[in-house]
């Protein structure tokens, strides 16, 4: 019987073994793809195997090595990290299936490099999820950026290289100049005999409480650190550091679907929640009003990104801006700084992941079957690709928040938390602002998703298209997108595991 610690180590180690296996089996594509699928399944099994231990509240922690004295690479499995790790590893399975169909049908080159980078990215994601101190989180955050770079620039064209530079430039500049600065600042404050900061480990309630109680740290510095952290996590794509996400759309669609709708961006918002709860502490931030500015920046990001999305004709670009807007839902919910809003933020990681990966899968299927990339070309495509466009419809409705889809559930919790906040501390402008943003964004979502559905199902095919008949995309892709669409529906009715974890996060934030 393996202990939870061993399982957690396996969750980190199996993708690395998978990386080696995939890299070595490049000559035999079928074996290579079998390794990819196998690695995905085993990794998910390892992470899922940790679920009972986490629900029992067991402490699962281990350290790998001491990189510098007092600064180890250490890990601890806690509910919030579980949510992110589960989402990332679960969705890697359909994504692997989808990649096989996509890469083969589109005759992409350098497929071994492509498949080899995925497990590295997953290992980084698991590392971020289970990191126990801010140093470990930073290390894996950077690893995730670097391991996904070859995937973004996969095509190797000058356009891909340019976008790759934007991707790497924004993500590394923000993380080095802001996040690393904050990490080191907290590290320096945590040294000495009477440190102002308790430790660099993630601590329930935050690490500043003692220092604040004994006046060893100025709340203004905490505010500055929080700002450095929020903009140091460029992966959360908060405006104005969001430009890398549309740039990353140059990547093959499986990459956009999985990394830039799930693993990378969710890694970003996960880090935002994690540091808010476990470094700064919800109570501390509320007391000194540190989250207020973030509420408005996130709200503005939601609206502006939605407006930009509405004007994009390129389907993937439209989805990318929709992602930026949806990520800021998580950030905005975090910035509300009530335990219930933290729970809503956590749940939205799950809800958005299922819907958005389905949408990207559909976009990639359309491209593979018909080589269409623009929304304006999609007239009547629903008749030729009914399964794909049905899945697209499910994903889009979930984004808008229509029941019975999982997007509705997370919107429910978000609005509940706003109301709870109003009843707890008295209604002020911020609650109204958040509700207005949610309302406006729902309308905007509808305005840029519904026309696509209308075109696909209710407009006739263009004359040009009649000459080029095509059917559905290859079967692996259809299976994958049907699976994620089914999850989007299923999680409306049966979201207890995710909600239970989110509930544990709520308690940690109390």
């Amino acid at each position: 019987m393996t202990t939870p610690e061993q399982l957690a180590m396996l969750a980190l180690g199996v993708p690395l073994i998978g990386f080696v296996l995939v890299a070595m089996s490049g000559r035999v594509p079928n074996v290579r793809e079998a390794f990819t699928l196998l690695t995905a399944l085993v990794t998910f099994a390892c992470v899922a195997g940790l679920y009972p231990a986490v629900m029992r509240g067991e402490e699962v922690r281990f350290a790998l090595l001491e990189v510098m004295p007092g600064v180890p690479l250490s890990f601890r499995v806690e509910p919030l990290g579980m949510v992110y790790a589960l989402v990332a590893t679960l969705l890697w399975i359909p994504n692997s299936l989808y990649s096989i169909g996509y890469m083969r049908a589109n005759h992409e080159k350098n497929q071994t490099r492509f498949y080899a980078c995925y497990p590295l990215a997953i290992a980084s994601a698991v590392g971020i999820a289970f990191a126990d101190n801010i140093f470990t989180m930073f290390v894996f955050y950077e690893m995730l950026t670097l391991s996904t770079f070859p995937l973004v620039t996969h095509k190797g064209t000058s356009d891909a290289m340019r976008s790759g530079r934007v991707y790497l430039g924004i993500l590394l500049t923000t993380s080095v100049c802001f996040q690393l600065f904050a990490v080191l600042w907290i590290y320096v404050l945590s040294m000495g005999d009477t440190p102002a900061v308790e430790s660099i480990n993630f601590t329930v309630g935050g690490v500043f409480r003692d220092g604040l109680a004994s006046n060893r740290i100025d709340p203004g510095i905490i505010g500055l650190l929080f700002f450095l952290y929020i903009y140091g996590i460029g992966k959360a794509a908060l405006m104005p550091v969001h430009r890398w996400l549309p740039a990353a759309m140059v990547a093959p669609t499986p990459v956009s679907a999985f990394l830039h709708a799930v693993a990378v961006v969710k890694g970003g918002v996960f880090c935002v929640i994690k540091v808010s709860v476990y470094v700064f502490g919800v109570g501390t931030m509320q007391q000194y009003g540190l989250g207020n500015w973030l509420l408005y920046v996130a709200g503005a990001t939601i609206i502006i990104a939605s407006l930009i999305a509405a004007f994009q004709d390129n389907l993937k670009k439209r989805l990318a801006y929709s992602t930026i807007s949806q990520l800021s839902y998580v950030v905005m919910a975090t910035a509300l700084l009530t335990p219930l809003s933290i729970m809503a933020a956590t749940f939205h990681i799950v809800a958005h992941a299922f819907g958005k990966i389905t949408l990207f899968f559909a976009a990639g299927s359309v491209y593979t079957a018909s080589h269409k990339t623009q929304v304006s070309q999609l007239d009547g495509i629903g008749r030729r690709m009914p399964a794909t466009m049905a899945a697209f419809t499910i994903g889009a409705l979930s984004m808008i928040g229509v029941p019975p889809l999982v997007g509705f559930v997370s919107k429910w919790w978000l609005i509940s938390s706003v109301i709870e906040r109003g009843t707890l501390s008295g209604v002020d402008f911020s609650e109204g602002f958040v509700l207005a943003v949610i309302g406006a964004s729902t309308l905007l979502n509808a305005s840029y998703f519904l026309p696509i559905i209308y075109r696909a199902f209710f407009r006739p095919l263009a004359d040009d298209d009649l000459k080029h008949p095509h059917g559905e995309a290859p079967m692996p892709m259809v299976y994958a997108l049907s699976f994620t669409a089914a999850l989007t529906v299923l999680f409306f009715f049966w979201h207890k595991p995710a909600l239970d974890l989110a509930e544990l996060v709520r308690r940690a934030a109390l």
Binding site: L65, E66, V67, M68, P69, V71, F138, V139, E142, M143, L146, T153, G156, M161, R165, L168, G169, L172, T173, V176, C177, L180, F181, L184, W185, Y187, V188
Partner: protein, 507 residues
């Protein structure tokens, strides 16, 4: 054995000196390389032994008297954790690079001159080791000149590839000699004030002089200040600290590949060491930083070095020159560390001496392979080499990640300590400079990496992977630079010892 062990401090310098003389006489037909290889390998063993010995001493020092003449009359060698570390850096790098040099040098230097090449090579190493170990300020000057004069010639030997090696060498000769003269003038002034040449002795005799400055009758105030000023400028020149870096880019670029690697990884490191020694041991940090505020000047210069060096590196099209400008920036990190004068700062400096020597040495060796196989190191020569020289270019890229300071490379450890030191001193702007420097490093490294992996070659030449004798040393250095980023217990330990020694914290 006991005799050898007792005389190690002298042997580590005398062996390469004697072997160098022998090499120039009998080192023909490939024998020269064998002699150099044996000598540097022995040097490595000796420096490891010295480090072990010094760390086992209660007061962390080993004194050695040349010919048993007592100091201050004779020349005393003195080993402590700081220079034992630098000795290890110099001897490790010189052994690994000598291992690499055989084929590379044979392809770049005329066969008839190989014995002289390896003789100069050993003299250069003699000088570097001697500067590091000596406890005598004048002896330091002599050894500085031994290493410098041989270096000028070694640089000039790159002339068959490119005539500009000659002008670079002359330029280096002029500036290097000015630097050495300035240092000598400084020593003379201090001799005038104290009547001694031994570093520890001068430091002791300076104390009553400093004490007199607060009274009505200050003695030798202007003399000592002038002396230190001359020394500081002279050593800044040797160290290539911005804005006195002018000689460095061309000397590194046009020298033979192995010479560039040796210079980049050891020469400036020894210069930095000498500067640290002068500030912390000779004149004392209370005088240099407390009274004269040299630390502010150093912080400004090193901050500028980081930003300007990196910026100029971005604009280069010759990758060797790009690395040279990057070295100017990295020297800024080293100087910034000791200018902060706190434990983390000095630790950062010493760690970076070590880490940067490994990283930059490894990258220059990888470039040397490109030179050997392709015949040039311009950006266009590197296009698409990722497929043709996968191991070499992989090593180059890994080294590049170290320069940027990506986590789990040794460069990250250096930066971690350096930024911590800045924050401890409350110099937030300098912490920012260091981090911005990393981003600039990202830009110049990534330009090369993109060219290597995504550049298209018009000429489909067949390029084979490098011979093992060149590949293995490259991989040793780059591998070590990664290893010390994952587990830094060795580097942080010895650097911490050195910092404690300099700040006079009792072990």
């Amino acid at each position: 054995m006991e005799l050898i062990r007792h005389n190690l401090p002298a042997l580590i310098v005398v062996t390469p000196l004697v072997m160098g003389l022998l090499t120039s006489i009998i080192g023909r037909r490939g024998l020269g390389w064998w002699m150099a290889m044996g000598t540097t390998a022995a040097g490595l063993a000796m420096s490891v032994q010295l480090l072990v010995d010094v760390l086992s001493q209660g007061d962390r020092t080993l004194e050695y008297l040349m010919g048993n003449w007592p100091v201050p009359f004779g020349i005393g060698y003195s080993v402590d954790p700081l220079n034992a570390t630098v000795l290890l850096i110099v001897s490790l790098l010189s052994a690994v690079i000598t291992l690499y040099a055989r084929k590379s040098v044979a392809s770049e230097v005329p066969a008839g001159k190989l014995n002289f090449f390896y003789a100069l090579w050993l003299f250069c190493i003699t000088g570097l080791l001697g500067i590091t170990i000596t406890g005598d300020a004048f002896n330091l000057y002599v050894l500085l000149e031994i290493s410098s004069l041989s270096t000028y010639t070694l640089v000039a030997l790159g002339k068959d590839r490119n005539r500009r090696a000659l002008t670079s060498a002359v330029n280096y000769l002029v500036l290097g000699s000015i630097g050495a003269c300035f240092y000598l003038v400084g020593v003379a002034y201090l001799y005038m004030a104290t009547g001694s040449l031994n570093i520890a002795d001068i430091a002791e005799r300076l104390q009553p002089i400093y004490a007199s400055w607060g009274t009505d009758e200050p003695v030798y105030q202007k003399t000592v200040i002038t002396g230190f000023a001359f020394m500081a400028v002279g050593l800044s020149l040797k160290l290539a600290l911005f804005p006195l870096h002018g000689w460095l880019p061309n000397a590194y670029t046009y020298a033979p590949s192995s010479v560039s690697a040796l210079l980049a990884s050891t020469a400036t490191k020894v210069g930095a060491y000498a500067f640290i020694r002068v500030i912390f041991t000779l004149v004392g940090v209370g005088f240099a930083f407390g009274r004269l505020h040299t630390d502010v000047a150093l912080m400004v210069c090193s901050g500028a070095a980081i930003l300007v060096g990196s910026w100029l590196a971005i604009r280069q099209t010759n990758v060797k020159k790009l690395l040279a400008y990057s070295s100017i920036a990295q020297i800024g990190y080293i100087a910034l560390g000791f200018a902060l004068a706190n434990r983390d700062g000095i630790t950062a400096s010493v760690i970076h001496l070590f880490n940067h020597a490994l990283t930059k040495g490894g990258m220059f060796l990888a470039l040397g392979i490109v030179m050997y196989r392709v015949g040039g190191t311009r950006l266009s020569d590197l296009r698409g080499l990722g497929r043709k020289l996968p191991i070499t270019m992989g090593a180059f890229t890994a080294g590049g990640l170290g320069l940027i300071g990506v986590p789990l490379t040794s460069g990250f450890i250096s930066k971690w300590y350096l930024v911590s030191a800045c924050l401890e001193r409350g110099r937030y702007e300098l912490a920012g400079v260091v981090l911005v420097g990393s981003v600039l490093a990202l830009v110049y490294v990534w330009r090369v990496v993109e060219t290597i992996y995504f550049g298209k070659r018009e000429d489909e030449v067949t390029v084979r992977e490098a011979p093992a004798s060149m590949l293995v040393p490259t991989l040793i250095l780059v591998g070590a630079s990664i290893y010390f980023g994952v587990d830094s217990s060795f580097t942080t330990h010895i650097a911490g010892e050195a910092a404690d020694f300099l700040l006079k914290v009792k072990p």
